[in-house]
Subunit: 260 residues, 2 copies
């Protein structure tokens, strides 16, 4: 998503040339290219698919179940063991966040066995509280863990994304708890920059441009025992308007400067 | 602030005509009108000044101290016992929220005795986490209480504002804890509507237009023993563009419909 202006073949070529060993993919471009063709493209290049984004939106009604099973199938076909879940906000017209989280947990309960049979782990991503109404009623790592812990660790984990949790003084302890339980399924980076754009979706900052102590979060996740891939996930109109390979190279350099 | 298009005299007249018994004032219009003149205007109309907004911004450097003492003086002159604090975000260029909160607590420690001597209580307002970087490093009621509890309850309390805390599953318990300790200094209402506008400052929804269960929050605060005024604080470009008295009448009607 960081360089969504690149076609899948151009993305794969750029990753290989820059020494980026893995890539997190999103469903729409994968489906547009063809799931099997995308899987072959990435596999032939020697790249790992770190995660597939995204399943979820359990609160939008029962049709989400079939779509989420499709997402699991696509993850399995791509050879990734992790499907990221953006769980959904309030039910249409609803005002009850606790009820929304119960609906989410029920949806995960229906999906987790299906995913487990296909070697795919569900990764519950807490989103920043500014998305609680319309995107994700799971707003904190503690809430995500409370849901994940109802299931075996190999079936359901959590995502630690600096953009969503950087503000939360309770998140470091939750990272440690998730790590001890083997439930950190994905670690994602984005920086926090202000002012936020209208809609607050596409304002995630390039690493180093904002106020998040990214290296401190990486060390927290390291100390929690996480040894998996580190993803950079930026939704940023400014970055999307630039040449994609240049953005990818800049991002790799920023990673070295601010995270390693 | 909900009807900032009204002059102070027009605001006072409208409140009296609509049977609104008290009004929260902001410093800028009060100072522009003259603090003593504003105090006389409101007092002669039989209106209470519920709170003065705002002091704070402790993280912007030592000059905030003098300005905050001025704010206390203005509150005392207006006859309100409550000065709302928007505490400030990260220090310029900073990345350490815990350090920002320590700076805020230090600033409150310098200000609280001065305020106490003048009959003014400081009200620490947690702001939504989307403001943590640039406006207020105090993002949750629990954080606000952790700071307030270092001081006597009659010197430092907290603000419960539905816009800022509605998403937080830990907030109801914090409301109860604050109420037991006599630390709810102010209860403010705004609804949450999406999409958020650029800058995320002026998108607070009219009561009933959004997804916050306002009546449930009022009941929570009631159950916690709060008997003080209930303020409606909307920053909303759409409301500001309309005729102010009409907006005030609508707000009073919405209050009856969604809160009482």
């Amino acid at each position: 998503m960081t360089v969504r202006q690149l076609s899948l073949p151009a993305l794969v070529t750029a990753c290989v040339e820059l020494g980026v060993p893995g890539v997190g993919l999103w469903r729409d471009p994968v489906r547009a290219y063809g799931v099997e063709a995308a899987a072959k493209l990435v596999r032939d290049a020697g790249l790992a698919v770190t995660t597939l984004c995204r399943g979820g939106f359990f609160t939008r009604g029962p049709r989400s179940d079939a779509d989420n099973r499709d997402a699991v199938d696509e993850a399995a076909a791509l050879g990734t063991d992790t499907l990221v879940l953006v769980s959904g906000g309030l039910a249409p017209g609803g005002r009850d966040l606790a009820d929304a989280r119960a609906t989410i947990a029920d949806g995960i309960a229906r999906l987790a066995p299906y995913a487990g049979e296909r070697g795919v782990r569900l990764a519950v991503e807490p989103l920043h509280p500014m998305y609680a109404a319309d995107r994700c009623a799971v707003s904190t790592l503690d809430q995500a863990l409370e849901i994940a812990e109802r299931f075996p660790a190999e079936q359901v984990g959590v995502v630690v994304d600096t953009y969503h949790v950087w503000w939360d003084d309770l998140a470091p302890a939750a990272v440690a708890r998730a790590g001890r339980a083997g439930r950190i399924a994905s670690f994602q980076l984005a920086d926090w920059t202000v002012p936020l754009p209208a809609g607050v979706l596409n304002g995630r900052g390039q690493l180093g441009d904002g106020c998040v102590d990214l290296r401190a979060w990486r060390r927290l996740v390291d100390a929690a025992g996480y040894t998996g891939p580190v993803e950079v996930e930026l939704f940023n109109e400014g970055l999307w308007a630039r040449e994609g390979r240049e953005v990818l190279a800049e991002t790799a350099a920023r990673y070295t400067e601010h995270v390693l």
